[in-house]
Symmetry: C2
């Protein structure tokens, strides 16, 4: 069965210019990459990141690859190869496994990502998917969290909030948007919003030892944030600022670059000027009357108990 699965996988995976040796040896060999490698890894688990039985395995596969591609986009990098580890429940595992891969293939193909290695296991526990992506970028030390500068404008792709209803499974990683910005503009800092707009922005600000003012009326609020607000007792803006798994990009860059980026932007995804980086640490919302309201970082925390 294992050999049969690996044969199936090998047949489904085409050649890739960077992959000298792919699936079927002790490790993969990659050649011809740019001198700066970018590597990210994410583990997704049944009951935490998705619910087996409530969503199709293909959507699970899509999400597992997409969250990693989102990290690559947030580094201003291009993905090259993915390494996929699965722990599959014994009963029905063969089908589940192939269906997870069927969700991975189209997304990998769309962005030219080789599936170059992996580890497939069965066990008595729930489904676990770990993907590591090796990518490349022209220059190291760019698009980091620690490089936001006072005076930078803060731009965000897409819309925020209510991702739990659909988007957290079906979102498109912002690789095209990242490449557009990287190719023409001097991006200082960047992050992808995995745990919440206010929390992830705060991570950038903290690493950069700066603060930010945000314009609440400019925060792009997703329709699903409004749907959530209708029953949650929280405002749609609160959902937009603190719901996790939007997987949009936040970038900071000099004001002139930002203005030019907004003018030349020709992608379907929205690009919005949501605020500015300031010297004073902390975050504030500035409303239309000019009043500053302190904003606490809020979002999804990956907690475990200390003992």
């Amino acid at each position: 069965m294992e050999l049969e699965f690996i044969n199936w996988l090998r047949e489904r995976i085409g050649p890739h210019p960077s992959v000298v040796q792919g699936i079927g040896d002790d490790a993969a060999e990659l050649t011809g990459l740019q001198p700066c490698l970018v590597v990210t890894t994410d583990m997704l688990m049944d009951g935490v990141d998705f619910q087996v039985g409530q969503v199709s395995p293909r959507r699970i596969g899509h999400k597992a690859l997409a969250v990693n591609l989102s990290d690559i986009a947030a580094m201003g990098a291009d993905p090259v190869a993915a390494f996929i580890s699965l722990s599959i429940p014994q009963q029905g595992g063969g089908l589940l496994c192939r269906e997870v891969y069927e969700g991975i293939f189209p997304l990998a193909s769309r962005y030219g990502v080789a599936i170059a290695g992996g580890d497939t296991n069965s066990w008595s526990g729930p489904l676990v998917v770990n993907i590591t992506i090796v990518g490349q970028k022209p220059q190291p030390g760019t698009w980091l969290r620690r490089s936001a500068k006072p005076g930078d404008w803060i731009l965000a792709t897409g819309e925020f909030g209510g991702s739990i209803l659909n988007k957290h499974l079906d979102f498109e990683p912002r690789l095209d948007e990242s490449r557009f910005l990287r190719n023409s503009f001097n991006i200082h800092a960047a992050i992808d919003v995995s745990d919440g707009l206010s929390l992830d922005l705060w991570r950038v600000l903290k690493e950069s030892r700066v603060g930010a003012t945000l314009y609440p009326e400019r925060i792009p609020i997703a329709k699903d944030a409004m749907v959530c607000a209708a029953t949650s007792g929280r405002s749609a803006l609160d959902h937009a600022l603190s719901d996790g798994e939007d997987f949009e990009l936040i970038v900071t860059l000099p004001a002139e670059d930002a203005q030019q980026a907004l003018r030349s932007w020709n992608l379907a995804t929205r690009l919005t000027h949501i605020g500015e980086v300031v010297t004073e640490p902390g975050m504030h919302l500035v409303d239309s009357s000019g009043q500053q309201i302190p904003l606490q970082p809020k979002g999804y925390q990956h907690l475990f108990s200390a003992t």
Copy 2:
């Protein structure tokens, strides 16, 4: 708690010449690597690869890194950076997590492996550890499974069988042995024995479209194989040929190189000539009287049911 853990981790990890950006951003940046990258990933689960509560978390951490380093060794490569994903049971997770890392640190340090990234999660399921290693080698296309040639001698490091008693948790990846062989000899094919000597050798032979004869009296049998044989009803040789998780290297190379390697070998680990590659597919044991006994590949299979 998450931030506290990441701060702890950052403090424990020193700088590394290849790591421009390590833990604490969306992804890691690596620079200055050789043009051939070698990447491997392995997922280990509680109840399958170790038993939480029966072994110390440090041994779990050691094993999780060591199985990956063994794959790197089997490619004739040098490890550079490790990416570590954990799914940790909620109760007591903070301590478990740190102890797993305490098992990883010394081994990483011994072989100069940077801990450059990871993903730490808590959940209600059992402990899962996934490690991906990025390594490098001077030349692609070497030390693969598909390159064994008729006439090659088959050499093996260490001893085989009975690993389940101890060695599967505490083994030393054969990186020094790999480097010694790589630096002086023309290794054709290589594999590390993760699922059983006969099964993993068969994988090499199958990929290379060749066969092998083995000398049963030369197979280096571990003391623990004899301990197992005392109660299992199987011979120690059978344990040596089919027990999994020895994590020794099998290499094939031209006879003259092999003789030279055996003569010049000065490492503490045993290096043994266990057989030869032949044109005719299949494996045979050749006993002292010259009689050929067919040998079926036997070892650990990562099975899941098909439906």
